[in-house]
Symmetry: C2
Subunit: 347 residues, 2 copies
Amino acid sequence: MKSAVDRTPFHNRWISRNLSKKLSGEVRLLKRFAKALGVYGSDTRVQGFSGYLCELLIVRYGSFEALVREAAGWEPGKVFIDVQNHHKGKLPDGLKKKFEGQPMVVIDPVDRNRNVAAAFSPANFARFILACESFMKKPSIGFFFPAPRKADLNKIRKTMLSRGSKFIMVKFQRPDVIDDVLWPQLRRTAKRLKDIMLEYDFLVLDWAVHSDFSGVGEPAKGLSSYIMLELGVWKLPRIRKVTGPPVFIRPRAAEFRKKYQKLGKVWVEDDRLVAEVKREWLDAVEKLRDSLSDPLKDLKAKGIASHVAESVARGFRLVEDDAILRSCSKDSNLALFMSEYLERSAV
Amino acid sequence: MKSAVDRTPFHNRWISRNLSKKLSGEVRLLKRFAKALGVYGSDTRVQGFSGYLCELLIVRYGSFEALVREAAGWEPGKVFIDVQNHHKGKLPDGLKKKFEGQPMVVIDPVDRNRNVAAAFSPANFARFILACESFMKKPSIGFFFPAPRKADLNKIRKTMLSRGSKFIMVKFQRPDVIDDVLWPQLRRTAKRLKDIMLEYDFLVLDWAVHSDFSGVGEPAKGLSSYIMLELGVWKLPRIRKVTGPPVFIRPRAAEFRKKYQKLGKVWVEDDRLVAEVKREWLDAVEKLRDSLSDPLKDLKAKGIASHVAESVARGFRLVEDDAILRSCSKDSNLALFMSEYLERSAV
């Protein structure tokens, strides 16, 4: 197997042989369409189209419009493109397994064992399909040149307030790793924190991640990464009701009584045991702080991605609501991140 | 079929023939046990043992202890007692259907078509079984003479505060009907109000109902009935997230987009559409007031029991938290109700 750098000259040669001047214009259209949609880039932050993938798709379909018409009907796991016909229309089982979970398969003309679209996330695939559908129904210039995103602090403030929710950011030193390692770890950690909050009955509306960028080879020192949670419920009553088994499933009922009579009250509702126990965590921020204050080993054990865990173990800050706004006023990248989160593009 | 009043002399005659002096003592034990457990009374408020049922059970098992030993192993729908052997060990299909959902069947010796235990609620049946189990394991005088319930206003206040929840009472004029009609309607309405709250994402921890009593033939004028809800979540953020179908189930996805694009934002998460829309009701009390302020026809249509609906349509008050405490200080029955709700006996 070749590395990305090894492959580049082969790609270039294949493309220069197969892509006419006319088709190059179509490629530019596709790239612009993908960029406007926010799915241009095959790195782990964007998880979308590489330039090479755009080129291959145009070679395959002959024009931007033909591609878009096809793509509007695509389904995940059912797209198989093999312009060099390496596999005679049928993937070998080994590759099928290797490509499992990747929403589309585009065989690299110069490497029959590689899926050029491997980086595509299911969400971006779905987003692209929907955009193609919408474009076919009603094409417009907006698909290529969307309104420019600008962070308007006043608008951010108003939108945050109007939602009646609570924003919490976990801020920590950017782990000293490349972007391609960092972004998946930030996402994995955010999902895990969301699950921990839900486990304790705090409703998480959504999450997003952000990081200061570091130049290639530059140290991460002084840079920060952020995991943001937006909460719908962040204060809870002291008591918690637990529904137990039916009274008449004797062994389970006995177990339930034994466990909960120590912790609180147990009684019968309809034909079920129910228990009322004291809730340990009434405040989402306190629970979050507690969860992140564990030693490194425990952070990793509870599913915080390793590089994030190492950084968080060295220290973190929780930035809430107004404090987020103050940070945005000093950090235009952070403001842009918040603005994009709040103004997420409709499909 | 005879009425209850018609049957009484037959019951008395049957009991006087079949219940010895010695057995009468056992009946008194059973009645006291049931009373202490709060399941003595076959009216719709208590939904438990009638005196006649206690007598029949003692006739069948010969002693309080023998009954309790048996009952510890009872299962709902599997208890069939027919002391006069009217049905030769097997219920006819017609009666099986008639008694469906009643946790135990005790055939009336003087009326083969009647279940003396028909009034028993599944919860009371379960409670009785559990109490028998506990008694067999560790008998004590407390099963017959529980600590007397007294309403201690200070304790009520402290317990209410310590729960960190919100109490709301719907107070309205007592409908002018007998207790046996009133109590099921109060319960049915409470369950319906709980469901309405849950539909709007307000978490209801529990509910209970209470009413001023009216003497036989006395008018309900000046008396009140109460439906209480205890809420765990009563304020919500302005936005609500709706999870839609996978993008690739085209007709359903199209429907979802059409519906929610009018109401708010729609985007893709993983392979699903999600929508963010404005929430209509952010405050449980406001929603409750709105739901109960509908005209009579609508109240009934949404499942408020008819006599309760008629009274509520004429007017109601919502009494919250501190105001409940103030009411308790003026109304000892209400205080006792709150005290019993807060101190529910463990099983």
